[in-house]
């Protein structure tokens, strides 16, 4: 087994671990409001979220017969001809190191943005800035800032509209109605998460598999093995088998990550009414689903946080926990540049090795 083959296998494993961790970390985002309003028990909510995450695959592929636009974007930050297994491995390791450092120090971070920084850095440092596709990079950077703001404004105005409509109705009946509606908003949010987050690593694995057929030095055995899952003659595409695997792993992440969510819920959550829960989730889901179909990778954590801040704003600026908002801004500043540099240097180093 040569080093290239090892790099390919290692990259696929790391990418799948990323998918799993993404499910684990985002389990709380998907189900926190529905548990806070006591519509579902934590266990029911975890199962509900896992089911709808997987349903995103069925909706995109079978119902809408669409491609995973976010996955395609992830593979399109740099010229496909310069992407090779070392570049992907550097990008993944760079992102993983930064995620680990930040998690250990309690710093806010978006895994998605770390991965994007990793790919850009690894391609740029070795091949120069000419190989970078600036359009998707700029759109992604703009939406890093825009997605929480869209969530915020949508959440705020939805809450205002609902308050206006239901202001004079009995609270018990209104709560009951919105508790029912929360089932749909949670499902929509999970579909949004499934359509934006799972395709991120899917795109990375697919471009890695495609590079196995174009990179010199990959052994015929490795190509034959990858050929079982990926048709190398078709050029870049995301095979459904890969998509199913990624969705299953992400759903498993949510199921297992749910244990931590139960702990968090035991510690008490911020007060959230059914109207607020619905408005925040609906805002998050709309942003996620819209950006997914436009092929823009965004952070689900930032989107739902924007939605929650938005509904909180109806009580005035002082009622919002601005520490969380500051953390998001800090994350904007740090998340992409650091993995970009780490991955870039790592790829430079790998390219200097006599392999």
């Amino acid at each position: 087994m040569n080093l290239l083959t090892i790099a390919i296998i290692l990259s696929i494993v790391i990418a799948l671990v990323f998918t799993f961790l993404n499910g684990m970390n985002d389990a709380a985002n998907s189900i926190s409001t529905i548990i806070a309003t006591k519509v579902m028990t934590p266990i029911q909510a975890i199962i509900w979220a896992s089911f709808w995450e997987f349903t995103a695959f069925l909706i995109i592929r079978l119902v809408l017969n669409q491609q995973f636009a976010v996955g395609n974007t992830m593979a399109n930050f740099a010229d496909i001809n310069v992407i090779n297994p070392y570049l992907i491995l550097s990008a993944l390791i760079g992102a993983a190191i930064w995620v680990a450092v930040c998690t250990r120090n309690g710093m806010p971070i978006s895994t998605s943005h770390a991965l994007i920084g990793g790919i850009i850095g690894a391609a740029w440092f070795v091949n120069g800035s000419n190989v970078l596709h600036m359009k998707p990079i700029i759109i992604t950077l703009v939406f890093i800032v825009l997605s929480p703001l869209i969530g915020l404004f949508l959440g705020f105005f939805l809450e205002c509209i609902f308050l206006k409509i239901f202001k004079n109705r009995p609270r018990k009946k209104v709560d009951k109605l919105f508790k029912v509606l929360q089932h749909f908003s949670t499902a929509a949010f999970c579909i949004g998460h499934g359509s934006n987050d799972a395709p991120k690593t899917m795109g990375i694995i697919a471009v890695l598999m495609a590079s196995a057929f174009t990179t010199q030095g990959v052994s015929p055995e490795t190509r034959e093995f990858i050929g079982n899952f990926y048709d190398g003659s078709q050029g870049f595409h995301i095979p459904d088998t890969l998509a199913v695997v990624c969705y299953i792993i992400m759903s498993l992440g949510i199921l297992i990550g749910g244990k931590n969510v139960i702990k968090t819920m035991g510690g008490g959550l911020a007060k959230i009414t059914p109207i607020r829960g619905f408005s925040a989730e609906f805002a998050g889901a709309t942003t996620l689903i819209a950006t997914s179909f436009l092929g823009i990778p965004v952070s689900t954590t930032h989107t739902i946080t924007g939605g929650v801040i938005g509904v909180g704003l109806t009580d005035g600026m002082k009622s919002v926990k601005w520490v969380t908002a500051k953390r998001i801004v800090l994350s904007w500043i740090l998340t992409i540049p650091v993995p970009l540099v780490i991955s870039g240097l790592l790829n430079l180093l790998l390219n200097l090795l006599p392999i």
Partner: protein, 217 residues
């Protein structure tokens, strides 16, 4: 226009609780004035009818609180934190209860040579309740900076009044043991000053709560 005002412009307003607070403040003001008359009243019959007047205010206040609970239970939107809306209404009702206690004590422990200190304490209750009434009339307009400042100033005024009553209370207690009162007289005067002090405190708690509410808006 500040960012907060921009967002608040779109938020529907819930105003149904303000008239209830105003009603409670009206009853507190009315009961305080009657209490002031009671402290110097020597005619037993008049005293009894005044006691009943205070009791009527307290009973009317209970009814307002009942309406409050029903409205709050059904309200989707509240002008500030739901718990605060509830606590403030309870504190207002508590002040009415303390006024009723005071009226009972003045009636049952009455004595002829009422000290000036006790009269000043009831005056303070009247002043504080008047400030409270003005606060409640302005509470709906906290988005207006001038009204907001006025509420803050009146809350501070209630606090100063309570401080003055605190000092009077301490001095009066120490004086009680220096004078040659009978044991029964000491108990009567102690009960009276104590209940007036409690009533002033209950008004100060309301102003503290209001300050906390305003600072969060």
């Amino acid at each position: 226009m500040s960012l907060n005002n921009f967002f608040q412009y779109f938020v529907p307003k819930e105003t149904r609780f303000y008239p209830l607070y105003q009603q409670q403040a009206d009853y507190i003001g009315k009961a305080a004035k009657v209490l002031r008359q009671m402290i110097t009243e020597t005619d037993l019959q008049k005293l009894e009818s005044q006691k009943k007047e205070v009791k009527a205010c307290e009973t009317a206040g209970d009814e307002v609180l009942r309406v409050f609970y029903t409205q709050l239970f059904n309200a989707v939107l509240t002008p500030f934190e739901r718990e605060d809306v509830h606590q403030l209404a309870e504190m207002m009702d508590n002040a009415l209860d303390r006024l009723d206690d005071s009226a009972n004590i003045i009636y049952t422990r009455r004595f002829t040579d009422i000290d000036a200190d006790l009269t000043v304490m009831t005056d303070n209750i009247v002043f504080a309740s008047e400030s409270l009434k003005t606060i409640m009339d302005n509470l709906e307009h906290t988005d207006n900076p001038a009204k907001r400042r006025e509420i803050g100033r009146l809350c501070q005024e209630i606090k100063s009044i309570e401080n003055e009553s605190d000092e009077l209370y301490g001095a009066y207690i120490s004086k009680l043991f220096k004078q040659h009162y009978s044991l029964a007289d000491i108990i009567k005067r102690k009960d009276m000053v104590q209940v007036l002090e409690n009533t002033t405190n209950s008004l100060k708690y309301i102003s503290d709560k209001l300050r906390a509410i305003i600072s969060e808006l």
